[in-house]
């Protein structure tokens, strides 16, 4: 009885506000302006990319039409054919795939082992923590700082214009990242899991292989995808280390064409679209880990 009375009293005290409903109008207005702002932002983010895609599909007449043709044009794959069959872009693409793949395998393998060592063992004199921070700090070097000596080193080793040089350099580039990502994933797992495995009669490495690695597989996959993205996108070191058709990656190939055949917009865009697609697919795959990956 008394509860119901109290409820009625509350309802009564609210009613004056309800009559005019200024609050409701304001919320609806706020929601609409939210949508308008967000749509504008999405439009700004996506339109330039869309424009490149259309250019890659347009004949030259459509490309240079004024006013610009956003939708009405006859699509053609001629530029893709031109880029990847007439010109060397297929070769660049293969190089990029090889370099990204091999360097990712190396970095993930080495980095994961190191991360396990750093996550699970207390070393004398806090060496584990110091090493972790030192490894992280090597990631902070601007690429141009190491680009100059790396170029000279690779020249001395006669490794300029080889895929090997890029694989080595990208492995080192990605290692700190792998160590820190994987160290985080390892540390999230309770230590008792390995302890239980060892009590159950397994060795430390057996526990790592049978118990711990299966549990960090999603994180490991995400880390590998991040390495692929970084290696695939990397430009400055590739520019410095590879200058021949046989050794250059897709970004370097595109950059060369941008300055040489300025007017070949279709070829440039087609190559750009091909360089972009795997990255967007990868990015979608690691959405869950994006923040973690990017803030390292």
């Amino acid at each position: 009885m008394s509860e119901r009375y109290a409820a009625r009293k509350v309802a009564k005290s609210q009613s004056p506000a309800k009559q005019g409903r200024p609050g409701a109008t304001r919320t609806r207005l706020a929601r609409w302006s939210k949508y308008v702002l967000l749509s504008a932002a999405v439009l700004a983010a996506v339109t330039p990319v869309y424009w490149m895609v259309t250019i890659s599909l347009k004949s030259e007449v459509d490309q240079f039409a004024s006013p610009p043709r956003w939708f009405a044009f006859t699509p053609t794959l001629a530029h893709y054919y031109d880029a990847f069959f007439t010109r060397s872009f297929a070769k660049y693409l293969t190089t990029s795939l090889t370099v990204a793949g091999l360097s990712t395998i190396c970095a993930v393998t080495l980095g994961t082992l190191a991360a396990y060592g750093l996550a699970r063992f207390k070393l004398r004199g806090k060496l584990d923590q110091r090493l972790s921070l030192w490894i992280l700090s090597t990631r902070m070097f601007p690429p141009i700082v190491t680009a100059v000596p790396l170029f000279l080193m690779m020249r001395d080793l006669r490794l300029l214009n080889t895929i090997t040089s890029l694989v080595i350099v990208y492995t080192a580039l990605n290692l700190p990242f792998v160590v820190w990502m994987m160290r985080g994933f390892f540390r999230e797992l309770p230590r008792e899991l390995e302890e239980a495995a060892m009590v159950d009669g397994d060795s430390r490495l057996g526990a790592l292989v049978r118990v711990i690695l299966p549990l960090v597989t999603p994180g490991l996959a995400a880390t590998a995808v991040f390495c692929l993205i970084v290696s695939w996108n990397e430009f400055l070191l590739a520019l410095v280390l590879t200058q021949t058709d046989a050794s250059m990656t897709l970004p370097v190939g595109i950059a060369g064409r941008v300055t040489q055949y300025e007017i070949k917009w279709g070829v440039m865009s087609a190559a750009g679209v091909v360089a972009m697609i795997p990255i967007l697919a990868f990015a979608m795959a690691v959405q869950r880990y994006l923040v973690r990956g990017l803030s390292l």
Binding site: L37, P67, S137, I144, T146, A147, A172, V258
Partner: protein, 302 residues
Amino acid sequence: MMRSLGKNRSHAATVRGRETALPYLLIAPTVAVLVALSIYPLIYAVRISLQTGSGEAARWSLANFTRLASDKFFIEALAHTFIYAVVALTFEFLLGLGLAVLLDRPLRGRSLFRSALLIPMMLPPVVVGVVWRLMLNPDFGAINGTLKGAGVNTESLTWTASPVLALASVIAVDIWQWTPFMFLVLLAGLQAIPQEPYEAAIVDGSTAWQTFRYVTLPLLKPAILIALLLRTMDLLRVFDQIFILTEGGPGFSTETVSLYIYRTAFRFSDFGYAAAMSFVLLLLTNIVSVGYIRLLQKQEAA
């Protein structure tokens, strides 16, 4: 409980000795690779920066460093880098924060908005260069084409080809590409704030702005700092997009420190001077990265 493996050796026997060696074996390859490809190059760079001449004629000197102070191109490149960093950082932060706040609360289509907004950040920098070359071309670009269609006189709007507008243009492209990063990190920060402080603030009668100012911002501070530090480091070393959009030109108007170092080393083959300049850049980014690492350490400790 405290844990320690391999701390005490008074009873060290061979079986457990292996356990003690294991972590070092695991870590060693990584350390070796990083020493060879991060530390050794740095030492190499120190050496060549302290030498003038090459081969037989090489001799030790500080000439490369004294030259820095009087190189007006270098000073100008530094100035460009600072302007670039400050302006881009400001806009990226404010826009990113705004977008993050807009998407913090549940909203129909939120994950779609989020994914679409992230696209520019994921693109290879070279592709960003291509995209904006197509957009900003004075004659056939989409921007001027659209403006012309709207009756605007675009004759003076030559964007990256104009000494006046070039720097602003490359900064705008940076903002376009990297606002999503700010947005992403800040959104994650906002989402990590628990519901209770907001509820407490409402119960305590605070307005939306007061809640934002006194609850959200302080709780978001770690995320803000991380985002700012990481972006600052990247902005100070900016190279890729500018190289593709303008190569530092027209004239010298968009030349940043990284570009000037690149040009010095790989166009003029003056590696010693390039190395000397790169140490200035390293020093600048170091100041920022120390802040970042401190912050990370604090978070790890917590």
